[in-house]
């Protein structure tokens, strides 16, 4: 099973003059972490949207967990996404008025698949994930998300992406709001957790200093518009 397999993906934003994405092939193995770097505006976020099935992609181009993203539609696609993909954004990942632990558990409320895979006691799993990511203090876990520091929030988001062992985690510059030390620590933790859980990680950023934490590094510009 491949968590992610892209073949001949062409995508153009409606109304755009040129194709935003022209990707020959890209695939990820279970537990593999891939760092995709490229300058601002080159289409990294667009690629993640395509993989997550947020934008309409042609049939057969993207397979997540061996399922054709382009062939799933509507609500089924939302369910498919939460079943197989965890996502981390740049900032504001959390519902501000839910506690950290409740934010982590969100995928389990929307996906039976993730809930089952989170074990008998999803809340315990969530606490374990949080403590592994450096948020062991139980008072932190029950705090409303908007009372956490940005670095803490990103770690909560990482725990949420990890819970229930999805096949693939898409991370769109989750470290851009963090300082150097926090950044390195965050990426390191995330990559390690993914490897342990057997979850593939696709991490995009313009910041090449993060390269050393990943199994594989790919230049988006080289990938896009040619073969990878």
């Amino acid at each position: 099973m491949h968590p992610l397999r892209i073949e001949r993906l062409v995508y153009r934003w409606p109304g755009a003059e040129r194709n935003t994405l022209e990707i020959g092939a890209l695939s990820l193995a279970s537990g593999e972490s891939l760092f995709l770097f490229g300058p601002s505006g080159c289409g990294k976020s667009t690629l993640l949207s395509a993989i997550a099935g947020v934008v309409e992609v042609p049939k057969g181009a993207i397979r997540v967990a061996d399922q054709d993203v382009g062939a799933v539609h509507g609500g089924a696609r939302d369910r498919f996404r939460v079943d197989h993909i965890g996502m981390i954004f740049q900032v504001f990942n959390l519902i501000p008025w839910l506690s950290a632990i409740e934010n982590v558990l969100l995928p389990c409320t929307y996906s039976r698949h993730r809930r089952v895979r989170a074990g008998d006691n999803p809340e315990g799993t969530a606490r374990r994930l949080l403590s592994e990511l450096g948020l062991a203090d139980p008072s932190l876990a029950s705090k409303p998300a908007n009372e956490l520091s940005v670095g803490q929030q990103q770690r909560v988001a990482a725990a949420r992406a990890l819970i229930g062992k999805p096949d693939l985690i898409l991370a769109d510059e989750p470290t851009s709001a963090l300082d150097e030390a926090a950044k390195a620590a965050f990426v390191d933790l995330l990559a390690r957790e993914c490897a342990e859980a057997g979850t593939a990680l696709l991490f995009v950023s313009h910041d090449r200093s993060l390269e050393q934490h990943f199994d594989r590094n790919v230049d988006f510009l080289a990938l896009n518009g040619g073969a990878a």
Binding site: S49, G74, M87, W97, S111
Partner: protein, 458 residues
Amino acid sequence: MLGFSLRSLWNRRFVAGLTVLAISLSVALILGVERLRDGARDSFANSASGIDLIVAPRGNSVQILMATVFGVGGTGTGMTWESFEWLAGRPEVAWAVPIQMGDNHRGYPVIGTDASYFEHFRHSGGQSLSLAAGTFYTGDGADAAVIGAEVAARFGYAPGTVIVNAHGSGEVSFDLHDDAPFTISGVLAPTGTAVDRMVFVTLEGFDSLHAQEDAPLADPLDPAAMPADGHGEDDAHDDHIAHDDHDAHDDHEEHEDHEDHGDPEGTEAGHGHEPDRINAVYVGLIDRTSVLGLQRAVNERPSDALSAVLPAVALAELWGITGTAERAMRLMAWAVTFAGMIGMVVMLSASLETRRREFAILRSVGATPTRIFALIVTEAAILSAVGLFLGLVLLTLATFVTDPILSARFGLRLGLNAFGARELATLSIIFCAGLLASLIPAVRVYRMTLADGLSVRL
């Protein structure tokens, strides 16, 4: 889903609270207006049931009805006993009950009548009066009093209690007849009508109040002494007619009045005592179809200026008077509800922009746009439901507080458990309107989440 919506609303509890308050106030208003209207109509209709005709000194029929049946306001006292006897003797009349009014007991109207009142009065669809304790007027007791359930409950009276009445129908009266006490012989079972707050005394007893009081002043040649005959009712409200007529007729009747009290026959029950002047007569007919004929006969009686009032007609007239105000109130209540709904739509819509990120996050963890649509509708449903519930609570509290006042002042009861099918329908309409109104923001959210996808950036 419900829990999530609740949490989300709790996060915005200030605005949500205001919205709920607006809805609950409008609900309380709508239901309150309806209950007031129904309460008025029911208690009026119940109180007047069984009486075919009310005969009283000439006056406005609504006023006569209000005064006689509800003890609100007054009628003239100018009806002579001869007229009563004439009326009672008419072939089409099955029974006639004389009524005297104008006194109060601690704010509750005192009615002078004879035992036939208890026999013939009907309420709430034909039920006759029954006793909760004691007896109706006993044989020789001119000082006997029968009291309504509310009076008994309010002051803790029981058979045997001695009470003192005051002149005038005002709530506060300093002019107590403490020289003419009554002994309670019976307490009526609750009827839910104005009878509950009435104090009934014998005709003789009613007259004796005035006799004893008027006696030292009874000089018909001294106009200064005469109007002071106990009308310490400057505080009284709408009984001007009572004033006028009373003053006008007292003039030449008082001497005979006093002689009557010396009459030993007056101790008999029934019509034994013949008062000089009465305020009204309740009439029951053998055959109801004769009512118009009798009404004409009463109106045309030359010796006495009388009116014969058909309770149902007077009620209809009353509703005609109040109808416009009723409609205006109802319209206003619905307008307030409409405003409440707009408030909710504004609240939900205003929050959408700031919650865009929230929705994007939810979608990224698997919530479908439909689910987010449902989230908004659920929030509206919660707001509406809580608003409705709070409105009912508010109304119940308001009823609880105002019921004694309304009941004491106007003899109408809202009824604490008057939650009926029509109210349920009204509530459902408001609830559905709330859900419908929430579709506006919900559709916007639906579109927004589809367009934004997961890529909302701030």
